[in-house]
Subunit: 552 residues, 2 copies
Amino acid sequence: MTLKLLASTAALACALLASPLHADVLIDNVEGLTIDKDGKVKRFAAIVIDDEGRVSQLLAAKDKRPRTDYREDGAGRVMIPGLIDAHAHVMGLGIGALTLDLSDTNSLQEALAAIARFAAENPARPWILGRGWNQEKWGLGRFPTAAELDSAVSDRPVYLERVDGHAGWANGKALEAAGIVAGTKSPDGGRIERASGSQMPSGVFVDNATTLMTAAIPAPRPAERDLALDAAQKILHKFGITGVADMGTTIEDWQAFRRAGDTGRLHVRIMSYAASADAMELIAGARPTPWLYDDKLRMNGIKIYLDGALGSRGAWLKAPYSDDPGNTGLPLTDSARLRNVMVRAANGEFQTAVHAIGDAANAEAISAIAELSESFTGDRRWRIEHVQIVDPADLPTLGKHSIISSMQPVHQTSDRTMAEARLGPNRLDGAYAWNTILRYGGKLAFGSDAPVESPDPFAGLAAAISRTGPDGQPFGGWRPQERVNREQALAGFTSDAAFAGFADGRFGRLLPGERADFVLIDRDPLLATPEELRATKVYETWVGGRKVYDAD
Amino acid sequence: MTLKLLASTAALACALLASPLHADVLIDNVEGLTIDKDGKVKRFAAIVIDDEGRVSQLLAAKDKRPRTDYREDGAGRVMIPGLIDAHAHVMGLGIGALTLDLSDTNSLQEALAAIARFAAENPARPWILGRGWNQEKWGLGRFPTAAELDSAVSDRPVYLERVDGHAGWANGKALEAAGIVAGTKSPDGGRIERASGSQMPSGVFVDNATTLMTAAIPAPRPAERDLALDAAQKILHKFGITGVADMGTTIEDWQAFRRAGDTGRLHVRIMSYAASADAMELIAGARPTPWLYDDKLRMNGIKIYLDGALGSRGAWLKAPYSDDPGNTGLPLTDSARLRNVMVRAANGEFQTAVHAIGDAANAEAISAIAELSESFTGDRRWRIEHVQIVDPADLPTLGKHSIISSMQPVHQTSDRTMAEARLGPNRLDGAYAWNTILRYGGKLAFGSDAPVESPDPFAGLAAAISRTGPDGQPFGGWRPQERVNREQALAGFTSDAAFAGFADGRFGRLLPGERADFVLIDRDPLLATPEELRATKVYETWVGGRKVYDAD
């Protein structure tokens, strides 16, 4: 979609969807359900929303209806709380929507054709940017090269992020713009891929080496960021998402959030985690911000990258990769620095969210939290993001310190084959171990890691209860003992995701006093099969008692 | 005042002054006056404030009083609109309040003693920072030296800004910390002072050279900035100031303003002008922000430095300084860059405020505005800040394009002797030419340039109507034909200052619909002599119908 078309679409959408504010509303005749305060499911037939956009009453079929300013017939549709994505990259999703998406390509040839087409359609763009390629999915057995990319586009720099964001692929003009030559050294924590038997960079940059390229890309202008945020909100609403934890907010991202809030264009609740300690302090000062814009924005704390990802073998493991002996991945933040930043955050009552994928990274994050828990008591809600591969010996500690494991069910189904290759058969006992974590008393929050994966929460719910992919494989589920039940899955994408962002009591449940964030859908997620869940149709999405998406 | 004491004082003040919100208030029995919409003076005996903090009615003595929730007796005090400072540096004022102020020192010896005392009182501070020194006032006839400063403090770096902010004085440790050595070259647009007959830096840095030093100073932490903003607001309220144009807002400043707004601690209306084009776009995006926090904050546009100041001979003159033949000062922004930034701002409907002190700088600013006025029509309110020395040939153009001359009356009285020395007797016809600017149809807005001068607006009013200093000199006023009348002076510090910041209709006048920002004082500024004006006592300051300062 071009920027111009997107802008006019957004404007149109706003005009169409502006529902009455400052009036109480009854939505009757729904199959309503929510997670209740005790974690159980509560059902209702009608909801009353007050003039501040909060739930004021839930009614059963037999209850008398109050007199309200507006009344809508839910036509028997299923109403559930607005879904919350506990781990996503809002601006990445939005900017991605304005750039080239390669995540549907199934071969290098298909990708090269898409790249050439996108460049032809966007002649004015000085750089061709995109993301989503995956050489594993292409069955390439190796990284693609700059020369291959040149065969598609050679007149302008091209830079394309890998699906996991942990690697990037550049063409010749991009290498030139970034000043990359044979003698360019790989930075600490990163690797420049080289042509075999040569020092020549082959075009792919892994982990910290990606910054050599990204530093050369002109930053998006604020106006483009505003469009990107509008685009991201539109995508989220379409999937029924009304709240999101933004993992890695920069000052530029934050200013875009605020501009949207200031001008009445913020319609997704954002729990923000700063991209760095400096960003956190610049944005929030000495303490987290208050909830802004009627509970639509708060800077909660900081996201800290402790390691990379499995796909690019950047995840930090206790023992070498099974498919790359001698490589254990990389810690991106050393032990002293991790504790330093965590203490600095905790001193200001900021929450910390530590990205940890490999078992060494998870052990380190858990041990740092265990240490800090001694000095920083109270309701801290320590978070670890991803928690993909954990040494079973470390799992009980997640429960002991009530650590929140912020996990992405779809990663499990997307990555299982790759995880088996990377780790071998004997290190999977603590892999994506949702149910074990709950059993040890740990807490879960579910998300998508969008734009790394689609933000679709119904795909996440399906994966969470089945451990099978969209193809139904593997039959019976991958390590099915780690499935969660339907209520736990729904809580992970609603009330537990809110709790993980200190938003409990504000949103995440359809209970009196909470914000009236909900979706109207075509099936009951507590009854649907995984396959049916993935096919859920979102009819309408409402935020704060206001309709922000209508499928019709 | 220590940070800790300041914090507790601020908290106490908040607790004491929290007036009832959301209730209508009558303040009766006042000698009220305001500039009316036609620029004339309107008088009233009572004011009614609505529950949103706006003026709802002005009443004459004979009018019937309405029933209100609260009622106060003004006890016959004079009520005027809250004063607006059209040019100040809010965070500079606040940070200055937390650091060493040398503006009262009358000799180098006195200053050195104050510096040594302050360092002893603040043993924990890694750097000793301060401002306000003036070698002219000290009668030193030269700049002070690093060696002299070392005699006061030699264990830590010391860096002290000159009174005009255009020069800085460092000690040996500070030179060391900044890596300044004999071979360090003066940057473009700046000068490192050297010991006579030597290449050794003597300790003083002029204009752009000050950045060599300031880059070495650790930035204030956000918590310190929050305290500084509280301190600045306290100072402004004490002087009866309720609104201010912040000239040169950085992202750090802006975040402090927002944190105050977000937590209900913002009680001065800030019209913000970004410190750079990048800051402007980072903060506001593609367009000025809306008015935020009930008209308490808006990013209007950009401040652009075109030259330096007269004191440090950085002001850019058409002909050399009379007391420094061969030196014409420096343009800090070249012609192409000035137009580039102005066009970039104007494209986004941002206002531009060009700092121009010398006649060459003013000619350049005026000519750039005249050029841009052809393409950018409509209500642009082009501003020039200071407008101190203008070639009389250029004055009519200020009127032709309705340019706002944002001037600081006290600069005229403080600087007149220095200006005479710098310019000689034959270049003063367009110096601080307030009345001539008005006669040509130009617009005035008055301010203080605090912390360069005290923010006291009553001193400004006295200077504006008399062109005499606090000592009553020179008798009859300096170039008295450039005085303005009392109504013009009051408008310059109220309604015209609001107009200059696109705030007309929101605040600056006590008229129904405008914010109820006012002060209660002990004399009528339209009747008082200059001497009496300077002695005005501010009893109370109110912002948005809420008392924020009470002298008792």
